[in-house]
């Protein structure tokens, strides 16, 4: 490996470092990973290019504007979303930042925000200084130099601020012990706002340093594949130490460059990162677990929706109504692809409905893992992909066999990823699954030992599944199975063990439950169901390749479960209908996308802490209560109507 590629690798490492530092800053203050960090940086870089390239604003003026704007945006996010959710489970905050990321992404795609593409390509992304040095066989440009200068400078400045100034110390104090900080006169709300303002500025700086590195400027540059590298570095630093994160990021950058220099295979670099993350978990696992246990707030989940009160459930009228309701629902979903409204009976919409059902299965599988076992998967869609590619390998087998094989393959993958991470309490599965999501698209799904054809597979549907409707019914059947499996898991000892391990790992262990095995079992079951969902994608799509299972969709799937209501099967299905069913019916216009993926999600998180499932369950309770009351001949509650006659008399007196 040449010195030149080593230098370039180190510079790439620096970009991961600055991203990692932004993530650590928020994690230290709020105890969750901010998925909106990269998107804010991307939006800032788009706006910056717009200002300089299209509107001719001088570089330094635009720089100040964008940094100030990003700081303000960070503060606004804290005040309007993060602070309001400060008492919510951390997973809800993670999901909220994913929704914010989608919103920022939406903004950066707006025509009025996007810079003129042709001019941008011609002039290149604006740079602070324009140089071109030949060093050790590689060309270093102003972009590289900016990174080499500004990243260490920014890191040092941030570290000095946190260590030496009164507000910096206040921020650290508030992060370590919020109550004691408040009792020392520090407004924890204000320190949190300051941190988010700083993080916003840092995100913008990161975006501006990143953007000129890429030849073709893409907004997705700071998506999951970069994020996982930064997270890997942050993880090694136990989400606290800035210098360690800095060093680890450099190691990742250099290792990646070395592998790339040897093999020229971009996918292999993803594999390196995946192995790095897994290695970090194996080597530093115990320490990491301890550091998280000290911050007991790291994991925590909302309550499941209550079942119907037994005295109501016992009522004959309620039982009858429930029967009618379930039958009605069954008839409706079966009739759905035949209805001539909203184009439901067209093959395109039927296909989208099948996909919606498949996402509902993924939602159910995530409910088991995230809602009950308390583990977060950020790579669940890759498990779906494993299922789909398995279908392609066993194309000629009968459909039920293929479904089982797809499930087993995904369950196997889940166990392999899960073993290093699930030994440890905390949210480490999130990072290793994110890494898996990236390596799946970048490498696994492009290996001939796994997929038949590197550039993509084409599937002939078996005669049973000739039409879209047939695929829809397959999806429906699998969803019904998934629901039955999930309900059984929850009702048996396995489900109770999951909840016990989730809520109190130590107590569960002292009761003789193996936390590691319980988590692993839940991930395996969850993976199996996700794999079966993969069959629907495979048969529905027929032709697909690695890029059809991108890591970003895994984040969307998590959003979906959170919107529905974590821990509720009904919620998982409702979430799928909300996020995928609505676009299937109403198209994917900007408005619909905005509503179903970002703003709508935020509204649900902020105003309906129990998710859509809580709305459904309170409606159910109200109806049941009314039915039961009528059955027992009790008087209806007084109607709240205005006293019309008396109002009139008072007016005319």
């Amino acid at each position: 490996m040449s010195t030149g590629s080593l230098i370039l690798g180190a510079i790439t490492g620096l970009t991961y470092a600055i991203l990692a530092i932004g993530l650590i800053l928020i994690y230290r203050s709020n105890r969750f990973v901010n998925f909106a960090h990269g998107s804010l940086g991307a939006l800032a870089s788009v706006l910056f290019a717009k200002l300089v390239v299209d509107l001719g604003v001088p570089y330094w003026v635009a720089l100040v504007l964008v940094l100030v704007g990003a700081g303000a945006a960070g503060g606004l996010i804290e005040v309007s979303v993060i602070r309001r959710l400060s008492a919510a489970p951390r997973i809800v905050l993670v999901v909220a930042t994913i929704a914010l990321a989608q919103l920022l992404y939406f903004f950066s795609l707006l025509d009025s925000v996007q810079p003129d593409a042709t001019r941008l390509v011609r002039e290149g992304f604006p740079r602070a200084f324009d140089v071109s040095w030949r060093v050790a066989g590689v060309t270093l440009t102003g972009a590289h130099l900016s990174i080499a200068v500004f990243v260490p400078l920014l890191t040092a400045a941030l570290a000095a601020f946190l260590r030496l100034t009164a507000w910096g110390q206040a921020i650290r104090a508030a992060a370590e012990n919020p109550d004691a900080a408040r009792l020392a006169g520090i407004s924890v709300k204000r320190t949190s706002t300051i941190v988010w303002v700083l993080a916003g500025v840092l995100a913008a700086a990161t975006g501006l340093l990143f953007a000129p590195l890429r030849a073709s400027f893409l907004i997705q540059t700071m998506g999951p594949s970069i994020l996982v590298r930064a997270l890997g570095a942050a993880l090694v630093a136990r989400m606290t130490s800035l210098p360690v994160a800095f060093g680890a990021a450099m190691v990742i950058g250099v290792a990646e460059a070395a592998v790339f220099a040897q093999t020229s295979d971009g996918g292999l670099t993803d594999l390196v990162v995946f192995l790095f993350v897994v290695g970090a978990l194996v080597v530093r696992g115990r320490q990491l677990g301890r550091s998280v246990r000290e911050n007991a707030t790291a994991v925590g989940f909302g309550a499941e929706t209550e079942p119907l009160a037994p005295e109501l459930a016992a009522s004959a009228a309620v039982r009858r109504a429930r029967g009618v309701g379930i039958t009605g629902l069954a008839v409706t979903v079966v009739a759905l692809p035949y209805l001539p409204v909203f184009g439901l009976n067209t093959s395109r919409t039927t296909f989208l409905l099948a996909i919606t059902m498949a996402f509902a299965i993924v939602g159910v599988s995530l409910t088991i893992l995230t809602g009950w076992a308390g583990q977060v998967s950020l790579g669940h869609f890759a498990l779906v992909g494993v299922g789909a590619f398995t279908v392609a390998r066993f194309e000629s087998a009968p459909v039920p066999v293929v479904v089982v094989l797809a499930g087993l393959a995904a369950a196997g993958a889940a166990v392999i990823i899960g073993i290093p991470a699930l030994r440890i309490q905390g949210l480490f599965l999130a990072v290793s699954t994110l890494a898996f999501g990236v390596v799946a698209t970048g490498w696994v799904f492009q290996q001939t030992w796994f997929v038949r054809n590197v550039s993509g597979v084409f599937l002939t549907r078996p005669s049973l599944l000739r039409t879209e409707r047939a695929v829809y019914f397959l999806a429906l059947g699998l969803l019904a199975l998934a629901v039955v499996v999930a309900r059984n898991v929850r009702a048996t000892a396995t489900g109770r063990m999951m909840i016990a391990v989730r809520d109190n790992d130590a107590a569960a262990r002292s009761a003789g439950i193996s936390a590691t095995w319980t988590r692993l079992a839940s991930f395996a079951i969850s993976g199996f169901l996700a794999g079966t969902a993969g069959t629907v994608f495979a048969y529905g799509r027929q032709s697909f390749n690695a890029t059809d299972f991108p890591p970003a969709v895994s984040l969307t799937v998590l959003l979906m479960v959170a919107v529905g209501g974590l821990g509720s099967i009904t919620g998982a299905v409702l979430g799928a209908v909300f996020m995928f069913g609505i676009p299937a019916l109403f198209g994917t216009s900007d408005l619909v996308t905005l509503f179903t993926s970002s703003v709508g999600v935020l509204i649900v998180l902020l105003y309906l802490p129990g998710g859509l499932a809580s709305v459904a369950s309170s409606a159910r309770d109200a109806i049941a209560a009314r039915l039961a009351r009528r059955e027992q001949g009790l008087p209806a509650p007084p109607r709240e109507l205005p006293p019309l006659r008396e109002l009139w008399r008072a007016v005319t007196q």
Partner: protein, 716 residues
């Protein structure tokens, strides 16, 4: 955290009205003694007509400016070469800022004198309205509109809250109706005035002419006297007015909002208005479309339609004012019934009028619908004014704007727009009936809470007054009264009363889980109770944040977890001195004093706090509390897990602090430690106070102490 997200919807489902008394005629009564019906003329004679007149004039001028930009739109477009969309954006920008600015302006209005605020904001908008006329390019135009919009943000919260404090409860409906009538007046005369001046002298002069019309009343307003907040509520409930002993920091906006959202009737009104926003914000645009596409009206015709339409509210508002005052006297919840009836009726009338043949009939329908909405407006404002605590009234008014425009306003036009594209404007407008009905139901459901909420406002005023009186007669430094507190669904404190006399050491004893530490957390503002008050020197500090309460001189040393483990001893102390961080010299001398007094800390100043022993950590915690020089020091579990000799050292320090004049509350598991120190003791069990009195007498209460002794035996 204190302001956890409260689900509006969830709260409404569970809401039960606060109990109220019903008299022999079945009429709900509150302690608000509302006198005989007084004619408006008489009210104005007694309380002065000038405030109402000036604020109304300012409101008219504001409306004129808003109308002018629409009326003179084509000329402005020509001057700056603007597209229709750009003009719409310019007009909309100011409106957006008006709503956005109303909340911070309301916070100011709740904290400072409001009359200067009225004048300053009016002058701001006058200056930039004038500048609109003088704008040379689009940038100037946009800036002028933005800042003029900013100034107008004061009208909703500041004017309305001022009027509520100027005029008594029984006339408020009519007074607010007069002020609100400025909008339709402006809408009727605006097009004529602006169009006239524009035609004669050019559009720029129309804006310049608005400047003196604003400046004169704005300056005249300076002659008005600032009314005292809630004075009419106090007078009507026979509450004494007394002056506070300490100046309290203001409740932060987050807590204030949370407090307002806890008021049931307001919650229903906010929800109702939020739902209504979907209808009212998007409607005018679609109606314009309807007028153009279906009735074939040109720009002039549409302008005339809206100008004539303003006659509706002009008739409705005064009527509504009178009716509202009348209904309020009969039953305070009834005006809300009126609003709840009027809003669906408005929606239905509006939709019906769209199906009438001919422009004339449609206009008449629009006028009638407008009149109905006009009738509802004063009743609504009146109820907001009486159910919001006087200290947060401006904020409460500004939140209505926010609910109206932010929720419905954002999605309403988008939804209406897509519906109009798909099915045409008339069908889209017919959808308005749904939010109209829903808003009506919500408002009617809120009506039963009104009386109880008014009673709560009065009770608060009364309690403040009596607490001050008690304090003047030598009362306690701190008093807790009727504190209920829950962690989530688990209630841990049940009606706790606690007195802390000045200069004493009070021991708070009890078994594990009795709620002692929670009492301290509530007292120092780390938690806010669901019910009850915390008073310091007679003033209510219940909803202040911990960091503000520290500023009053109340410090707490939290048990067992008082240090920042990942920071050095010196950094810990510097954080302890955070409140006076800018006084560098004092920080250094204080640190030197701490090191002198606690030499062990001096030796370990560079060590991480996590590496200290338990006793040293407690010492560090005590030193941090010592730095803030508190009037009242609350100590949670001083001796927990410490060797007796270490405890003795710490106790000596506590005694010394007490001798210097600090009042002290200690929470202790160890009865011996507590009783060795304290003069007064309070014993708690299961979230309730079981004993309160001299410490000596508690020794003889073996019935109470047994549980603690047993507890202590196992713990030590």
């Amino acid at each position: 955290m204190t302001d956890e997200p409260r689900s509006l919807a969830a709260g409404i489902i569970a809401a039960e009205p606060i109990e109220t008394t019903v008299d022999e005629h079945g009429v709900i009564t509150t302690d608000l003694a509302i006198g005989e019906s007084v004619p408006l003329r008489e009210t104005l004679r007694r309380h002065g007509a000038l405030p109402l007149a000036l604020l109304t004039i300012l409101n008219v001028v504001d409306e004129l400016d808003r109308v002018a930009i629409v009326t003179l739109g084509p000329e402005i477009q020509r001057s700056f070469d603007l597209s229709d969309a750009a003009l719409g954006a310019v007009a909309g920008l100011g409106g957006l800022l008006t709503v956005a600015a109303s909340v911070p302006l309301a916070v100011l209005a709740d904290r400072r004198r409001r009359i200067p605020l009225v004048t300053a904001s009016a002058l701001l908008w006058a200056a930039f309205t004038g500048l609109t006329g003088a704008a040379r390019n689009v940038v100037m135009l946009v800036i002028a509109r933005l800042l003029s919009g900013l100034g107008k943000g004061a009208i909703e919260p500041v004017h309305t809250s001022l009027l509520a404090d100027w005029y008594p409860v029984e006339s408020r409906g009519r007074v607010l109706a007069v002020h609100r009538a400025a909008n339709p007046i402006g809408a009727v005369i605006g097009p004529l005035l602006a169009g006239g001046i524009g035609a004669l002298f050019g559009w720029r002069w129309a804006f310049v002419a608005a400047v003196p019309l604003t400046v004169i009343p704005a300056l005249a307003a300076l002659a008005l006297r600032e009314p005292r907040r809630g004075q009419h509520e106090e007078a009507a409930s026979g509450t004494d007015t007394t002056v506070a002993e300490v100046e309290l920091p203001k409740v932060p906006i987050g807590s204030a909002v949370a407090r307002l959202l806890d008021i049931q009737s307001l919650r229903f009104m906010y929800m109702g208005i939020g739902v209504l926003g979907f209808a009212v914000v998007g409607a005018p645009v679609i109606i314009s479309l309807y007028l153009e596409e279906v009735l074939g009206l040109g720009q002039f015709g549409r302008g005339a339609f809206f100008a004539v339409g303003a006659v509706g509210p002009l008739i409705g508002l005064p009527l509504g004012g009178m009716v509202s005052d009348r209904l309020f006297r009969r039953d305070p919840g009834w005006p809300l019934h009126l609003v709840g009836l009027a809003i669906p009726l408005w929606a239905v009338l509006l939709v019906v009028s769209l199906y009438l043949p001919g422009v004339v009939l449609v206009t008449i329908g629009w006028v009638v619908a407008g009149a109905v909405l006009g009738v509802a407006t004063p009743a609504f404002l009146q109820l907001v004014s009486v159910t919001s605590p006087p200290a947060f009234r401006a904020l409460s008014f500004s939140m209505f704007g926010l609910f109206l425009y932010v929720f419905g306003g954002f999605f309403g036009p988008i939804i209406m727009g897509s519906a109009s594209d798909a099915w045409g404007p008339r069908t889209a407008l017919s959808l308005l009936v749904a939010p109209g009905l829903l808003a009506g139901v919500l408002l009617v459901r809120g009506a039963k809470h009104v009386a109880g909420d008014i009673q709560m406002v009065i009770d608060d005023l009364r309690q403040a007054s009596t607490a001050r009186a008690r304090r003047r007669e030598g009362g306690n430094l701190v008093e807790l009264r009727g504190i209920d507190f829950s962690y989530g669904p688990t209630q841990v404190l049940f009606g706790v009363d606690l007195d802390i006399p000045e200069g004493e050491i009070v021991a708070l004893l009890g078994t594990n889980g009795a709620g002692k530490s929670t009492v301290l957390r509530v007292l120092t503002g780390l938690e806010h109770p669901r019910r009850g008050q915390v008073r310091f020197r007679g003033e209510d500090i219940t909803y202040l944040e911990a960091e503000q309460i520290l500023g009053l001189g109340i410090a707490q040393m939290p048990g067992g977890k008082a240090v920042f483990p990942g920071m050095t001893v010196e950094e810990n102390l510097r954080v302890g001195a955070f409140t006076y961080r800018d006084d560098k010299r004092r920080v250094e001398t204080d640190l030197a004093e701490v090191y002198e007094r606690f030499p062990r800390l001096g030796e370990r100043r560079r060590q991480l706090a996590a590496t200290l022993s338990g006793g040293e950590q407690q010492m560090l915690a005590l030193a941090k509390a010592f730095l803030t020089q508190p009037t009242l020091l609350c100590i949670d579990e001083l001796s927990l897990g410490l060797a007796p000799s270490v405890t003795a050292d710490l106790l000596a320090i506590v005694r010394e602090l007490h001798e210097r004049g600090t009042t002290i509350v200690v929470v202790e598991q160890s009865v011996n430690v507590a009783l060795a120190l304290a003069t007064t003791a309070v014993f708690m069990e299961k979230g309730q106070v079981r004993y309160s009195g001299p410490a000596e007498d508690l020794r003889d209460r073996s019935d109470l102490l047994r549980s603690v002794f047993l507890q202590g035996a196992t713990a030590s």
